[in-house]
């Protein structure tokens, strides 16, 4: 899939947070974007996963396939995040089972055929959107675990000047030699593990001289208490609810590198 835009909203990791999704799309519309694109993972952690699918499909939002979407679409037994820690793995399985059971078959079939990448032509440059990394949907690109040499190699190989990913749930961006950049747009389904219950997405605006698009981080305030109430009504684990209420991650922490882990509460 190929789009063109001058100002684009990029968000990932919806995690069935349909209230944050609706608020994000409203915020992006107010900010005057030409396009909004989802970088994948519609389900996980949150309640009523069908609601998020309905919102993005009704709005005609292009969606990159995340590992969750891939697993649900192919009836796989787990999310393929690769947890080995027994506690993390147990919570990941609870989340995956709930999401699988509550995602309509028609949505799962739609997820199966989502593209692994989307390219956006911005003035003067190619922007590649994918979920984890351009070589692997479930590869984590953590800010503190990727050398510049590796990110430059990814850009060289995929032939884009700007690469945008999600999957880790933590936003960051880095400029690289040759006016290139890598942006992790974060996640709107759960907060960024910093004690702030608001969620994060990015708006990229083209540089008229063909340089790296500017990255504007948008914090979205949404009815997180209402989401927490829905999660409790669905008997989702209190650990997941806690993250929504407090902004601190409580599970799936094993894969965080030291710097990212040390910034969180758990």
């Amino acid at each position: 899939m190929r789009l063109s835009a001058r100002r684009v909203a990029l968000f990932g990791g919806v995690y069935a947070n349909h209230l944050a999704l609706a608020a994000t799309l409203e915020d992006a519309a107010r900010a005057g974007v030409d396009e909004a694109v989802c970088l994948g993972d519609l389900g996980a952690f949150g309640p009523h996963p069908d609601r998020s699918c309905e919102i993005v499909r009704k709005a005609g939002i292009p969606v990159v396939q995340g590992n969750y979407d891939h697993s649900l679409g192919h009836d796989l037994p787990d999310c393929r995040c690769g947890y080995t820690d027994p506690r993390d793995n147990a919570f990941a399985m609870l989340s995956y089972r709930y999401t699988y059971q509550h995602t309509d078959r028609a949505h799962r079939e739609w997820m199966r055929d989502l593209p692994a990448e989307i390219r956006i032509q911005m003035p003067g440059r190619d922007v590649l959107l994918c979920h984890g990394s351009p070589r692997r949907t479930n590869e984590f690109l953590w800010e503190s675990a990727c050398s510049d040499a590796f990110l430059a190699w990814l850009l060289d190989t995929c032939g884009a000047e700007t690469l945008c990913v999600t999957h880790t749930g933590l936003p960051w961006s880095r400029e690289l030699p040759g006016r290139r950049q890598v942006v992790n747009v974060g996640a709107i389904g759960r907060p960024a593990n910093d004690g702030d219950p608001r969620v994060v997405y990015a708006i990229l605006t083209a540089d008229e001289e063909g340089g790296p698009p500017s990255v504007e981080w948008r914090r979205v305030d949404y009815e997180h208490r209402a989401l927490a109430a829905e999660m409790r009504a669905e008997a989702l684990p209190e650990e997941f609810v806690d993250t929504i209420e407090t902004g601190w991650w409580t599970t799936c922490l094993e894969v965080l590198p030291m710097k990212e882990r040390a910034r969180g509460k758990y």
């Binding site: 590992n67 891939h70 697993s71 192919h74 796989l76 037994p77 787990d78 393929r80 995040c81 690769g82 080995t84 820690d85 027994p86 506690r87 793995n89 147990a90 919570f91 399985m93 609870l94 351009p134 070589r135 692997r136 949907t137 479930n138 590869e139 984590f140 953590w142 800010e143 503190s144 675990a145 990727c146 050398s147 510049d148 040499a149 590796f150 430059a152 190699w153 990814l154 060289d156 190989t157 995929c158 032939g159 684990p237 209190e238 650990e239 806690d242 409580t250 599970t251 922490l253 094993e254 894969v255 965080l256 590198p257 030291m258 710097k259 990212e260 882990r261 040390a262 758990y266």
Partner: protein, 333 residues
Amino acid sequence: MAFEASRPRLLPHTDPVAAPVLAPGHLDALWFQVTGTLCNLRCAHCFLSCAPENEAFGLLSVEEIRPRLEESVPLGVREYYFTGGEPFLHPRIVEILSLALSYGPTTVLTNGTLLRPRHVEPLAAAAAASPWSLEFRLSLDGFDADSNDPLRGAGSFERAMDGFELLLRHGFLPIVTIVRTWDPDAEPAVYERFVAELAARGCTRPRIKTMPALRIGCEAERIGGYRDYERVTNEMLEEYDLDQLVCAHSRVVTDRGIWVCPILLDAPDGDLGDDLGEAAAAPYALAHGACHTCWMHGAICANPGAAAPEIGARAIEVAIGAIESTASAGGSA
């Protein structure tokens, strides 16, 4: 697809009993055998038989390490690992790790017993100044002296825990790595004991990586080596995620040249010459018993989060009952 050329692949084979030959993918991880096979401990299960007098591989000098880091940049290496032996026997280890941190994410594998403030204080400063994580992986084999010291030596548990606490006090979050030497059924209970012990030492963010035993070196003498049938075959690699094999994306710098992986230092065919670029592309026959362990468990040398299994690859099913009981027992974070 642009990345196809950088994926590991098997070379075509005609001899059905010959070992599969893997052409590696992109070099993600560059390892440094920074203190060779020299160690202050003499662990009963060490797959390299590291010991105070084992000089099979020696120390790497800063002058040997620096050009390898430089060479790794055009190769697009993602991260660096430093191992031995015991890295903190190296008189210039602080300088070496600080240098690596100016290139990318850096991990050091230690037994923790030699860690002192003169190491940890400057490393905490170097880590704070770097955009990249400095990971400490600290080896233990038991959650108390009674279970740890028979394998790692008298007094080693308390000395390692002193090192662990020193790291915590300087803001590090060490990953405790444990070789599985217990009955598989005991794993959940053993894991809980480790979490409790680390919590008692002030660790609220337990990071634990369990690893399979490698039945070579001392471990082969302790419990027996690999049987002839414990080998990787071409059939076993059908629908297998080749990225799970360490040699698919890693190489090791030693004082004797570039080696294929951090495990097979004693294998003569592990020597891939002195040119990092050529060694990174050199095919390797998966002919060893240890290759079977690597195949079975996957990503045994990588940090957690660095090597999730391929999304389309065959799943290893985990018992559903075990998962759910762990979740309900997990309690709050």
